[in-house]
Symmetry: C2
Subunit: 320 residues, 2 copies
Amino acid sequence: MTISFKDIEIAYKKIKDFITKTPLVSNDYINNLLDAEVYFKLENLQNTGSFKLRGATHKILTLSSDIIDNGVVAYSSGNHAQAVAYAAMKKNISAKIIMPKNAPKIKIENTKEYGAEVILYDAFFESREQIGNDIKEKENRSLIKPYDDIDIIAGQGTAGFEIAEDLKKLSITPDIYLCCCGGGGLIAGTSTYLKHEFPNLKSYSIEPEGFDDTKISLENKKIIKNSSKTESICDALLAPMPGDITFPINLQNLEGGISVSDEEVKKTIIFLSEHLKIVVEPGGAVAVAALLNKKINVKNKKIVVMISGGNIDLDLFSSL
Amino acid sequence: MTISFKDIEIAYKKIKDFITKTPLVSNDYINNLLDAEVYFKLENLQNTGSFKLRGATHKILTLSSDIIDNGVVAYSSGNHAQAVAYAAMKKNISAKIIMPKNAPKIKIENTKEYGAEVILYDAFFESREQIGNDIKEKENRSLIKPYDDIDIIAGQGTAGFEIAEDLKKLSITPDIYLCCCGGGGLIAGTSTYLKHEFPNLKSYSIEPEGFDDTKISLENKKIIKNSSKTESICDALLAPMPGDITFPINLQNLEGGISVSDEEVKKTIIFLSEHLKIVVEPGGAVAVAALLNKKINVKNKKIVVMISGGNIDLDLFSSL
């Protein structure tokens, strides 16, 4: 199962009135610092504070109304949760969302505020997939998966459509694309569209250290789980392994994977608030962390960098 | 001395390769909260972190090269300082900037980083105009005034040109325009352009309490100084009175003035980081504070709100 740029264009037509076209911005200070031309896609400015609204909206608009009327169920560390709750609210359907007890408060609160029923679980002792499937079966709800679903991938890919549209207006052909990677839905969708528009583009997945399953899987050309039980502040990017649908797409589209440390991510969040005047959550900052820490040679290159979300608890933000 | 929309279009052509076209964004959450359609102009994402780069760049590009080669001098609480330093650096000319000792650290540091010589003065005992004029005379430098200059006003007005361009693409006719006001250069320029494009637009200046000289001057149809010696966290908006050139323009363009308290501004800065995922300085947040505190009836209206800058010291930001 795969997708083409056409699927993404069709998805964009469906969802464009339900989402915000987020800006693609450049900044002289950062360009001078890196001796490069960098374009940041600000999905932290998307409604619900992350790109996840694209996929969730697309999935919900794609399901037939007799199915969707029974409501939806989803599991998520937080951004997909808010997105599904929000998209369901907009279509006036019921949503149940399974979230880890230790998810950022802002994400749990927002999900509730969007009218969803939140079911908290213990990530160490319980399986969110199990709880989700049980509710799906019992209540006849549609399960909206966070990434391993072709409609979700096409929806996330619409961020790539907007990037390409903006770059073409400026007559810019990018050399490199850096994008965060949890389950791999966003990078699978966006890299598909960008590669179609810019065939020489080199795309890289960025993950937190210890959760670099896509990097390792790309190197081994097969799906490999994270071995360690480490922790990371990048709560949005802790998927245990690449998806069965996302991985083959990423294997085809990507040059390779890069990992960044929590320390690098924290410094990046501060840097972005000082120099780009935006609020970014840890998972949303990894691609910028890779850029600033020169994990890849960007000199004299044109680079597109995804900033995927901004849902950071304010007490963590101010503690940095 | 006044300006027309044409002057602003000419200024835009001159400066557009030196500035960033900043985004105009909308946010579902805020629209629902206010029962209105709000468009935020993000000049905090401008290079140097505020709109001031527009006017400073325009002024420096307008002066003839034999004059400008002697260098420039400017006085400013910080955003104009950074802008003049930056624009001078880009043109490879010398800049001396007079700043108050108690200006935000970030503003002083950035001004130095852009290669300017910073001269600190005591705002209670010394006159920045006096120091500026002395340097101008002695060293034959061009004085780049912060707001009361027709070229500066035309430059700041280019933010209005961009707003109009974006709104027209979306086929939106705004009802209300809310803009911060210190000396009045930004609102004079932008309201001139927006009123030309949208003749029924009602524009309002927003100032900190105790520094609402434009509000009071508009009510009395003549320039009146701030009477009090109060303080405000809005360091960018503490001009003692409207400008001789800006005021007649604003008197013609504006419906009236609104003032907001420091407490309202602080809450607004937090709100904007939580819900719009952006970093805004106190002076940049006043128009949003007026909006959120419903100082004006916005129900079912289309409102453009200027967010003018993001240069806030991170220790103040995190203390909020």
